[in-house]
């Protein structure tokens, strides 16, 4: 077997005739930190949705560690070791930060053992608290967290699940500058011992933290490579950076 953790082949998704994904091939090796970029509607989130079982593809395959993911239900895919966050973070507001993390960490326990009360803090939860810097807020209800803290909690919940592959959907969207920097550090730290795919719009964030980039455009992979290679690609400049530049110029005018 190869070192490829994720192998996507010929993936197609159609919504009412609109092809959101049109034959995507993507390979991500174990331990990689991969950025997924592309203009709005390129199919980035759809791709994440297919990998995690939220959307069923019309054709193609997603193999994860040699196992086919297409056709499995969401929680089964999580149990195989694929975790994700959402663009709009969803944490359980009624529960405390600690309980949110603890639930994320407990899914491998047999159901009957969940009937017992939690005693103490599992090690994985402690580690996730520490990594995300939320230790001081452990006892607070997640409902009182700021937007940034919620995103970190989500990433923390992901870490607590101990997945083999993490999929982050726009982790810095809507964040203030200092929160972005903090998230970037968190990302670098997480990527050290996990395979991570990040969907991100933010070019500044990309330049700073990305190494390998895949560019999606109109449901296809346009190009792949290092940040420099991708930025130097005239097609990318045209569809992505070019458009962004025009937008910027429009804004200046």
């Amino acid at each position: 077997m190869s070192d490829n953790l994720l192998e996507i082949r010929g993936l197609q998704v159609a919504f009412d005739g609109f092809r959101a994904l049109d034959g995507v091939d993507l390979t991500v090796g174990a331990g990689e930190l991969r950025f997924l970029i592309g203009p709005n509607g390129a199919g980035k989130t759809t791709l994440i949705d297919v990998i995690t079982g939220l959307t069923r593809p019309t054709a193609g395959s997603v193999r994860f560690g040699g196992q086919e993911l297409v056709g499995r239900r969401e929680h089964q895919i999580v149990r195989l070791g694929v975790g994700r966050t959402f663009q709009t973070s969803v944490v359980f507001e009624e529960l405390t930060v600690l309980e949110n993390l603890d639930l994320a960490a407990s899914f491998r326990r047999p159901l009957w053992s969940l009937l017992r009360s939690r005693r103490g803090v599992p090690e994985t939860v402690d580690k996730a608290l520490e990594t995300t810097g939320l230790t001081a807020l452990a006892g607070s209800r997640a409902g009182v967290l700021s937007h940034g803290q919620r995103q970190w909690l989500e990433i923390g919940m992901l870490i607590a699940q101990e997945p083999r592959l993490l999929l982050l959907d726009e982790p810095v969207a809507g964040m203030a500058q200092d929160e972005r920097a903090r998230t970037g550090e968190l990302l670098t730290q997480v990527a050290r011992d996990h395979t991570v795919i990040v969907v991100e719009h933010d070019m500044e964030f990309l330049r700073r933290y990305a190494s390998q980039v895949t560019v999606l455009h109109e449901g296809r992979v346009l190009t792949e490579g290092s940040v420099e290679q991708v930025r130097a690609d005239p097609r990318v400049q045209e569809i992505y950076l070019g458009r962004a530049r025009e937008g910027a110029e429009d804004a200046v005018r």
Binding site: T52, R73, E74, H75, V78, R79, G83, R84, F86, V90, F92, E93, E94, L95, T96, L98, E99, D102, L103, A104, S106, F107, R108, R109, L111, L114, L115, R116, S117, R118, V121, T135, A136, L137, A138, G139, S140, R141, G143, V144, M157, Q161
Partner: protein, 392 residues
């Protein structure tokens, strides 16, 4: 009933309970949980931790010692009836309050438990002959369905098994297909309506509209005797207490947290690696089992089980009671059932024609002004008190 009321926030007080005190109010985000305790769990002080068990013990003493001494047999019997409803309400509190499953058909499970018990009592009273109503209906041979219910152990087991199995089947079908919200509510209500039609239609098998009644003997005790009724009251109160503790443990366990998570974000829970359908199905089955037990206790206490006691209207009345008491807190649900039971009896005696309007008005009032019910009001008052003390 103040004892019940007091017990609510106290018992629910352990830190993270959504129903509990202040922080649950969206308007007071500056609640104690923000400042958090020094401990990671943010646990309250020793006093607060002991307040719950102390309140529970106080209520237990009142219910088990004071009430049997203070109330005349008729009133004690009424209280026993309300406590039976409170057991159903406890299940609704779990399923609806904690799990977000608005079940409008708990009467179905109540009825299954009630009929299982009623069938045994009828056969026992008939002593080998046919039960009286069958003779009147011209039935000549005991229907095969009835046979095993002559065995008390079988009948008692069925009190729990029938509702639980039915809820498991229904849950497995419905929750797996991601049917929820209003659709689930309508489905359960339709089920209650269907069961009534089924029961009424099978006169010879079920006693039809009259249901099963005229019971004389309950496990060797004369059902007409005051001592038997007092004993039954104590059994009902004890069962409620035990089930309450069990439900309380369930809520504060990881499973309980998971249940709340499913209520607030079912789709997100899937990505935590859990199947929400399993969590919901199990909880629904537990609440059904509780309703079954309540139905079985109701039969000797009140002396009858009939379609009118388990159809759409009684099922809805219990949901209203839980809403009034406060669905997010188990004690609120229990309190609501008892308060609404008393209110119904009182107003039916004094102003029979006004009760239905009053019930409707109360429901609207609670839903618009205090969506967390009496329990929520009590918690808010407690919070005002503690924050004043803190400010002073």
């Amino acid at each position: 009933m103040t004892a019940f009321q007091d017990s609510q926030p106290a018992i629910e007080a352990p830190p993270p309970d959504p129903a509990a005190p202040a922080p649950a109010e969206p308007s007071v985000t500056g609640g104690p949980s923000v400042t958090g305790g020094p401990s990671v769990t943010g646990g309250p002080g020793r006093r607060a931790r002991l307040a719950g068990p102390a309140a529970f013990a106080a209520v237990a003493v009142v219910m088990l010692v004071v009430m049997p001494l203070a109330l005349e047999p008729f009133r004690l019997g009424l209280l026993a009836k309300y406590l039976c409803y409170a057991i159903v309400a406890l299940g609704i509190g779990l399923a609806w309050g904690k799990g977000g499953m608005l079940t409008l058909g708990q009467g179905v499970f109540f009825g299954l438990g009630g009929y299982a018990m009623g069938m045994y009592l009828k056969l026992h009273d008939a002593g080998g002959d046919l039960p009286d109503f069958m003779v009147w209906s011209g039935v000549e041979k005991l229907p095969a369905l009835w046979g095993p219910f002559g065995n008390p152990a079988f009948a008692l087991a069925m009190v729990v098994v029938l509702p639980v199995v039915m809820a498991l089947l229904l849950g497995a079908l419905v929750f797996r297909q991601r049917v929820r919200g209003a659709y689930f509510a309508i489905l359960t209500q339709a089920l209650a309506a269907a069961l009534v039609i089924l029961l009424v239609g099978q006169q010879g098998l079920t006693g039809g509209t009259n249901g099963l009644t005229n019971f004389f003997d309950f496990f060797g005790q004369d059902l007409a005797a005051d001592s038997t009724q007092r004993g039954l009251y104590l059994v009902v109160a004890l069962v409620l207490g035990v089930l309450y503790l069990a439900a309380w443990q369930l809520v504060r366990s990881r499973f309980g947290r998971l249940l709340v998570a499913v209520r607030d974000g079912e789709d997100r829970v899937r990505f935590l690696g859990y199947d929400p359908a399993t969590v919901k199905t199990l909880t629904f089955a537990i609440s059904a089992g509780m309703a079954g037990i309540a139905g079985a206790l109701f039969v000797p206490v009140v002396g009858i089980i009939s379609p009118a006691l388990l159809g759409v209207v009684p099922s809805l009345e219990l949901v209203v009671a839980v809403a009034v008491g406060g669905r997010y807190a188990l004690a609120g649900a229990v309190l609501g059932a008892v308060v609404m039971g008393y209110a119904k009896t009182y107003f039916s005696e004094e102003l029979p024609e006004a009760w239905l309007y009053l019930q409707g008005a109360l429901f609207i009032l609670v839903m618009t002004l205090a969506p967390k019910g009496l329990a929520g009001v009590a918690a808010a008052l407690r919070h005002v008190r503690t924050s004043r003390r803190a400010a002073a």
